[in-house]
Symmetry: C2
């Protein structure tokens, strides 16, 4: 991705009304390579040496459903014969392969840990179909797994569900330059797909922090939102086709590559965001836009959340069709990134809020003119207190690191209670304030190690009314958790928000769906689940 | 809509390399008012005096399903008591109201005519729910009806199905300027919604010829595509929430106004494009973009379809984020519009192909600069032979009339066999050539009245690979129809196109779904239909 971006180099400073508003270049800092900072691995965490507790310990009420069969040596034999290749089956049933299996049992946040003894890596849709048909007949529960970068425990087993890992289904099938339609296997890594498109002057219409590891199929299965939904829209609009395999092995070929196709119910939509509970996505076709010729990014310090909202309205008005991201970070998140990376702050003074504004367009000169008018306006009006504009590609990535590095900075500190919520803009940040006040009053928050909570921080996708509320704890703590939940969900419900904007339900949010969906909706969802997966073998214990 | 558009006035002619390529203003023509040309009414047609034949005559194999009850006087009494208002029930069962009912029985193309004796116009979701609950219990078949502007016979009865017309559910509920989210009843007319948004500097992200009559609910139920899908994307991406009533009266409240909400299966997607076969849409929330401050439109003459393709590629490259429409019209369609309206041609010479290119952006000067660079390039390279650029709002609408007036021009001439198909761009127009050749060889095509076929024409949304193949006939003719179908569907199937890009299935395409969907898909669709409408009362005889 980085190679294709031409960053506008010059910042012309005309007509900036007040000296304190002067934009200046970011300090030349030692920036880790972009790909490296965006790839999450389980071992990257500072607390990697600690053993991850089993999910069944964290959720003692969860019981293994006795309707599911236990994996036998005969089952393993069947799968080995079916999948052929040695690397396609990791067998912990008839052999001791615990170490090889472990990475498939636990998530990168080190929060969820299952107990599977079998990992299957099919390479074709037909293999996926045969695996599922067998599992359905034998009532063997399964968990589809992509890059395993999710945040709600959706992609690892709880008990002994078989992991069906899609990493060997990694072919890019076609790209049509005239229409911009890309066809890929579900196991293609997002960044690989985007690099492929970059070489063809196109862009994957989704970008997120985990792009170096996550799979396109997993993105679609979780309806990932990410950093540029504001500009390129939701996967429900950009995904043109899906091939998926149902629990009974039926291959659903909804692999249209057409932008318009009104011939019956749009079944592919059901798989977008279904988190592998009704089928396994095996192929995806997606509409990709032309790669922007010019990309700019600016970083502001802002004195209050009200000013942040004003800045966003001004960005919408001035930048309009070239606005590709408007991100919010509070002061504490930036302090955490600073402490984690050792990088100098982009601005000289500290502010309670920071914004990152990105433009993507086809004409560098026009984009810069629009951006300048915007900057002059927000600085002239005192909406923004100070800011910098990236002047080359290194600075571009360096600035983005202040936004994208937050998750990683938090992961170095211990545990994080993560809430990914949609709230109407006027009250978006109020949730962070209220949560901090609540936990402080309860005596949980403090700087020294005797306090369970280190920090309550907020950041997110302002342009999508999407806040990430993160509570950084020294270790996961049931008392703290009880103080947050269900309080946080009630808070969101009162504002008609969503308790899961883009992370999905998985195991973490399953029991809280009622705060965002009424009983009728949940009943209709269960009816659908039952229609497509009557034995309930697909990703059990999760979702609805 | 028109009031909010500021058209860039000046065309600067710098550096156009060849005199023959000179762009010049369109002739000042008497243009009918915009709204008038975009409102279809049944009586507008030249052959309005002829009686429309019953659908059951055109489709003699269709038999009324005896499982459906016949409407009784008691039923009428129930509905009158339920809906209260005199105007809410048009009763042809216990009274003679044939003339009042007729407009609800037949479509504006005068191609489909049902035989209902009862039209209901509920005003609230609760009323819709009670109507459907009653009909479901009594096994009374129903047809949901919006603006009745469809092209496939989907919104009128075949036999005596009760028409549930949504025109009295016409409230605009809310618009939030910060997020751009509009909430409306399903019976709000598209143009009314767009005018409301125009006053608030926003735009409805869908535009189509029938906007003066069609309903937002009907647009969503048919997944309408229209003129600017290229820019604003499909309704699957822009619709944020749907409220709908299932056959048994269950109200599905999927009325999110959030851009991101990953809490369970996205059930609202099922209603988008379901053509009223699993429920009646009663409310819609939709993400609306800021209204562009500058809109330009250019009209070209092009010597070949290959050059049209090149022009489109250049438009994508040069106009990128401001390209909002790229329409294709063949020479014959423009002749028909000329003959129908009496307007002077925009260009002096006739060409085999014409394109309409529209830009929408936030900065008139930048947009014009991009457009000029594009025009210089395509004219300098000889890709485009001649063209005009609208210089004021009157010219803007006058140029669009050459595209939007095609449907109306055809409707004045007699019958039209309409095919709305997706085909990969390289062969898009070949279908028109092949069809014309086939019908000519069979002796059907000619200028005098002894030939059944007057013209085979093609036009459509180049940017969406969406062709409208229209065969204008002096009257509907079974021999001609047999020569076209299933030949045309086979042709499309061979190219993996869609037999219905945006018009949907309705009655017209129902039996041909197999050309675009495989057996498994159709089986899964029927399973869904059965799940939500086990008695099959919703819009029977149509869709899948």
């Amino acid at each position: 991705m980085s190679g294709a971006r031409n960053i506008s180099v010059a910042l012309r400073r005309a007509r900036v009304p007040k000296p304190r508003c002067l934009f200046r270049p970011v300090a030349a800092v030692q920036t880790p390579s972009f790909a490296a900072t965006r790839t999450f691995t389980v071992t990257a965490s500072a607390n990697a040496t600690k053993e991850i507790q089993y999910t069944t310990n964290a959720y003692p009420n969860l019981k293994r459903d006795p309707k599911f069969a236990e994996i036998s040596a005969d089952d393993v034999k069947f799968f080995k014969e079916l999948l052929g290749a040695q690397s396609a089956v990791i067998d912990g049933v008839t052999a001791d392969n615990a170490d090889d299996i472990e990475p498939f049992n636990s998530d990168w946040m080190r929060k969820y840990r299952g107990q599977t003894k079998l990992v299957l890596k099919p390479q074709t849709t037909e293999e996926v179909s045969k695996v599922l048909q067998y599992c359905n007949e034998k009532k063997l529960a399964v968990v589809p797994q992509g890059g395993n970068t999710g945040l709600v425990g959706g992609s690892v087993p709880v008990f002994d569900e078989i992991v069906i890992n899609l990493s060997r289904m990694n072919q890019i099938h076609s790209f049509d330059e005239a229409s911009g339609v890309l066809v890929v296997d579900s196991g293609v890594i997002l960044e690989v797909a985007d690099q492929y498109l970059a070489e063809r002057n196109h862009l994957f219409p989704l970008d997120l922090g985990a792009k170096g590891s996550c799979h396109v199929g997993g993105n679609v299965a979780t309806n990932a939102g990410g950093l540029r939904l504001l500009r390129y829209g939701s996967l429900h609009g950009t995904v043109l086709g899906v091939e998926a395999v149902l629990a009974d092995g039926t291959v659903v070929d909804a692999m249209s590559t057409l932008r318009k196709n009104n011939t019956g119910y749009d079944l592919k939509q059901l798989f977008i965001g279904a988190e592998g509970t009704i089928g396994i996505i095996t192929k995806v076709s997606i509409q990709c836009p032309s790669r922007p010729k010019a990309v700019n990014v600016a970083y502001f310090g802002v004195e209050s959340y009200d000013q942040v909202r004003k800045a966003y309205q001004e960005a919408k008005g001035h930048l309009s069709e070239i606005l590709s991201a408007f991100e919010l970070m509070d002061g504490r998140t930036q302090k955490l990134v600073h402490e984690s990376t050792g990088n100098n702050y982009p601005l000289e003074t500290e502010y309670p809020f920071y914004c990152l504004v990105e433009t993507s367009g086809s004409n560098a000169e026009h984009d810069m003119a629009k951006l300048e008018t915007f900057l002059e306006h927000v600085m002239g009006e005192g909406i923004v207190a100070d800011g910098v504009l990236a002047q080359d590609e290194t600075q571009f990535h360096s600035i983005w690191r202040w936004r994208e590095g937050i998750t990683e900075a938090l992961s170095h500190l211990g545990g994080t209670y993560k809430y990914d919520v949609s709230i109407p803009l006027p009250e978006l940040y109020q949730l962070v304030e209220d949560c901090k006040e609540r936990l402080t009053k309860l005596g949980f928050v403090g700087d020294d190690d005797s306090f369970p909570v280190r920090a309550v921080v907020g950041y997110g996708h302002m342009g999508d009314s999407n806040l990430h509320l993160n509570i950084s704890v020294r270790q996961y703590n049931k008392e703290v958790e009880k103080a947050i939940e269900p309080w946080v969900y009630e808070w969101i419900q009162q504002r008609k928000g969503s308790i899961s904007a883009e992370h999905g339900l998985g195991l973490a949010k399953k029991e809280f769906i009622g705060y965002s969906q009424n009983e009728t909706m949940v009943k209709l969802m269960k009816q659908l689940k039952n229609l497509y997966d009557p034995n309930g073998i697909m990703n059990p214990y999760k979702y609805i």
